[in-house]
Symmetry: C2
Subunit: 125 residues, 2 copies
Amino acid sequence: MHRSRLVAALVDVPQELFEQEAGFWSGALGAEQHRDADDPDYAHLGEVTPGFELYVQRVGASARVHLDIETDDVEAEVRRLETLGATRVEQIKTWWVMRDPAGLVFCVVRVQLPEAFARDAREWP
Amino acid sequence: MHRSRLVAALVDVPQELFEQEAGFWSGALGAEQHRDADDPDYAHLGEVTPGFELYVQRVGASARVHLDIETDDVEAEVRRLETLGATRVEQIKTWWVMRDPAGLVFCVVRVQLPEAFARDAREWP
């Protein structure tokens, strides 16, 4: 038995647009940017609505938006999503990059927001 | 003076993938699909986390995810976002389709979730 919930959207942009894009979404949502020197590819805009986070991420790919699902058992959640039609792309550190049936990238990550997770996550057999 | 907040993500997919994609995200998040006969291009998955909605939408474009900002003054919010670097794409019914500085589509829509809006929206001069 494990649990999961939608936790974040990430606005992925190439290197040359990262600062402009982070500034735009920060201003658009009135959300301060948090930077972590250990993770320079992310501008974290925090919980732009309670229980749901937004990030701007520097990527080596075309601009896109992707969703993150948080879970207390990454491997079990990845297997569950495979049975629904998703496919594994690659494992990065503690998370899995997957593709949905339309080919859109999303990620399965460990619990990011423990309070919201405890309150709102769905339970799977 | 007006207010706005992030309210939704929309998973946009071409016609031939719409039913499969709606089924996938419904199963992935444990969220029942709501269909409206007047709006057959949307599968509404409701508030997948309190205050934030997910839709799967049938579009005549490549698959993508886009974000929606809700506001009590669409024109004022569109003008504010233009000053931050967004551009207008087209007005549809009561909402505006815009592009962010990286060219990603997002929409500015009227208030969709009045309770969350009253509680969490940011106020702009």
